[in-house]
């Protein structure tokens, strides 16, 4: 029973969205399949193309839907605004907005699948169109169907049915049809986008992914003109009136004399632009906002070098305000005009500057640290006129904004994933300084999981400072923090730790709270929290590696029950 209430809180909205999306796709596929497979105006089209007509048009409808939806999760400003507008909505609804990239990928997979079905069905259609010209007509074995197909193909002028007007090679016919060559361009762009979006390429060679993904411009550009030649054709209503399809299809020799005047065909109106125009406009607005943000001036106040290759940049931008745990995109024109990289803000909203801690782990970050003068050996400071220009886009909303609405919060950060919590803990302290405003948040359990000693320093300093402040204001029970050192220790370290066992302060961090060794026992921790805070909603916030995320998600579901509900929130870009 406890699992069910946990599951409901954490999983239901996500699965609901998934179900609705899947349902829409299935509905469109089935509806348009039967539309093209049964309606009388497509009778003669089906004579030429058989079931391949419906099999090509059904995925086309799904493609319309998914090409519309795939752009929306990437409009981060739109999502931020939506999230802010939804502050009155229950938390479980807003949690769904965290999964925007997953949804983008899901729509992309569906686009790939539907493109393949659409393409393979149209392979048949092209050959159906061209093979009419290859059937010998005057032999005794020519069937009624072949004669009928030939008659249909002969219809010329604007009333034609068969868009292939002469005997051509099938592959050549593809390039003769507007739908054909635009389709080739669209599919190849899609193919490029898919192959460069594989996780390995994204993580190892981000630029390849980033630049190639901009092929979506080509994709959408040719998508809206894909149907412009109206090559899917059906009989006009007027023609259906005066040409009895049931009789005349059996007697093609009578055409064009009454009772079988030549049927008249017209093309279907292109529909795709109606589906995708709004998201395209929204996305263009999104990029315009990014460009405007690019032109706004950012002052770099301070650059601080921390141990273990972490650089802190403190900056100020007029009119910029961020909530707790939000992130920004940073761009440095000196390095690259097109690359914007996401970083979590480590400053609290109450401070008069905003800061990010950047870990130097790739080409762009190393180049940035070099440009900021932070790669040298000594504590050299670049004069402000030598500082490179940077641009900041954001802030963008993430789950951490909600943390103050929970009475109890469990915050877990692994490695560099602790950065959003720097902002949070600082803000908690600032809010506590304000005696007028009563905080709903009464208790924070903070867990920092670190693989090795070195990663401590900058955050450790901040924690020590915070610890001091809390003791001074008598609030030392507000934040309970636990640091776990997971990777191991050498013999010398073990000895040092043992010797200092009884000291008041931890020998590694200098904090009163002692460091733990090994991995945390989450079952124990969650159980203890559930027992200490019965009948409360506990927010679980995590930022870090996926494996730990699954574990915490599982624990949240497992230990919810008997009034205690653990709401799981994952941070991601």
């Amino acid at each position: 029973m406890s699992r069910l209430s946990g599951l409901l809180a954490n999983e239901l909205p996500k699965y609901l969205v998934l179900l609705i999306w899947l349902g829409l796709n299935v509905f469109l596929f089935v509806y348009y399949y039967f539309f093209y497979d049964t309606r009388p105006e497509f009778f003669y089209t089906r004579v030429l193309l058989g079931p391949a007509l419906a099999l090509a048009r059904a995925p086309a409808a799904c493609l319309n839907l998914n090409c519309m939806l795939v752009l929306l999760p990437i409009c981060r400003n739109l999502l931020s605004r939506f999230r802010r507008a939804c502050m009155c909505c229950p938390r479980r609804v807003r949690v769904v907005l965290d999964k925007n990239i997953k949804f983008h990928r899901l729509c992309a997979y569906m686009i790939v699948l539907m493109t393949l079905i659409h393409y393979y069905a149209h392979c048949f259609n092209v050959d159906f169109f061209t093979s009419v010209y290859r059937v010998p007509l005057n032999s005794r074995n020519t069937t009624t169907i072949s004669k009928l197909r030939w008659r249909l193909t002969q219809i010329g002028g604007n009333n034609y049915l068969n868009p292939i007007r002469s005997d051509v090679w099938s592959v050549g016919a593809v390039f003769l049809l507007t739908g054909g060559w635009t389709g080739v361009i669209i599919t190849l762009s899609l193919f490029f986008m898919v192959t460069s979006s594989v996780e390995l390429i994204r993580r190892s060679y981000f630029e390849v992914f980033w630049y190639t993904h901009h092929l979506f411009v080509v994709f959408y550009g040719f998508l809206v003109v894909h149907g412009i030649s109206r090559q899917v054709r059906g009989q006009t209503p007027a023609s259906l009136q005066n040409h009895n399809v049931t009789f005349c299809s059996q007697h093609p020799d009578l055409w064009p004399n009454p009772p079988c005047p030549l049927p008249v065909f017209q093309g279907s109106e292109p529909m795709t632009w109606k589906w995708v125009i709004a998201p395209m406009v929204l996305y263009v607005i999104e990029r315009i906002i990014r460009f405007v943000r690019f032109t706004q001036h950012v002052d770099i106040l301070k650059v601080i070098k921390h141990p273990s290759r972490v650089v802190e940049i403190q900056m100020r931008k007029s009119g910029f305000f961020a909530e707790v745990g939000q992130y920004v995109f940073i761009m440095c024109p000196k390095l690259s005009n097109l690359e914007w990289h996401p970083f979590t803000l480590t400053s609290a909203p109450e401070e008069n500057y905003c800061s990010v801690h950047i870990r130097i782990v790739g080409g762009w970050t190393s180049d940035l640290s070099k440009a900021l003068g932070a790669d040298g050996e000594g504590p050299e400071v670049l004069p402000s006129w030598k500082m490179p220009r940077i641009a900041v886009d954001g802030p963008f909303g993430t789950a951490s904004e909600d943390v103050f609405t929970y009475p109890v919060a469990i915050c877990v950060g692994s490695g560099i994933g602790v950065t959003p919590f720097a902002s949070l803990l600082k803000s908690v302290w600032y809010k506590n300084l304000n005696p007028e405003k009563e905080l709903a948040l009464k208790k924070v359990y903070f867990f920092w999981i670190c693989p090795e000693v070195h990663a401590f320093e900058w955050f450790g300093d901040m924690l020590a400072h915070l610890e001091q402040q809390l003791i001074e204001t008598g609030q030392q029970n507000l934040i309970e923090y636990n640091i776990y050192l997971t990777r191991g220790w050498d013999a010398k370290q073990a000895k040092t730790i043992m010797v200092h066992e009884e000291d008041e302060r931890d020998v590694i961090t200098g904090l009163e709270q002692k460091t733990n060794y090994g991995r945390p026992n989450w079952d124990d921790i969650f159980m203890k929290v559930a027992q200490t805070h019965p009948s409360t909603h506990v927010g679980v916030f995590f930022c870090g590696v996926a494996a730990l995320s699954h574990e915490l998600h599982r624990m949240s579901n497992k230990h919810s029950g008997n009034g205690v509900v653990f709401h799981y929130n994952k941070e991601n870009f």
């Binding site: 392979c123 193919f191 192959t195 073990a494």
Partner: protein
């Protein structure tokens, strides 16, 4: 004048591999479609080219499935690629990307004549272009050797603990006797 950013080496062969593999999959399915259309509708050349596309699509997927070793850092291998990797590394001329690009290109040419296999071979040919660029960049394929355990150098850092950590278990109050 903005200074040129330091050019990190991008290993194009990895992307070429993804492209060629996906192209091979599409070619294989195209081959199947060709066979189906050739048998049921007797479209011109669908059956022979369909069979050809199916066979070479499968061969190319086998060849492309094992990911090559990345020059820098850890290579994430594909699921169960080790058996493919050992087979492929025994073949001649697999490590040279020039040969790979050329052979794939020539193999794909016949499949361009029918529509179902056209897309798959167009994709593989793009992969050939990328491989050609990778070869010009001096890259080559080498098999990923499975990492021997344990990764840590002996001596300084200890293994994952076989004995209790240097802190008292939190439940007991016993004093640690030095």
């Amino acid at each position: 004048m903005p200074s040129q950013p330091v050019k990190r080496s991008i290993q194009w062969g990895i992307w070429g591999n993804e492209t060629a593999l996906l192209g091979a999959y599409v070619l294989t399915i195209g081959g199947v479609i060709g066979i189906v259309g050739g048998v049921t509708q007797n479209f011109l050349f669908w059956l022979p080219i369909g069979i050809y596309g199916l066979i070479f699509g499968i061969l190319m997927s086998f060849l492309e499935y094992p990911r090559g070793k990345k020059s820098k850092g850890n290579t994430v291998t594909r699921w169960h690629q080790s058996c493919f990797s050992s087979m492929v590394s025994k073949l001649p001329v697999v490590s040279n990307y020039y040969y790979r690009a050329f052979i794939y290109f020539v193999v794909c040419l016949p499949t361009l004549i029918i529509v179902p296999t056209f897309l798959g071979s167009a994709c593989v040919m793009i992969g050939c272009g990328i491989y050609f660029g990778a070869a010009a960049h001096g890259e080559s394929w080498s098999p990923v050797v499975p990492r021997s355990q344990p990764q840590r150098t002996g001596g300084n850092v200890s293994e994952p603990p076989a004995q209790p950590p240097p802190r008292l278990p939190q439940h007991t109050g016993a004093r640690y006797a030095t």
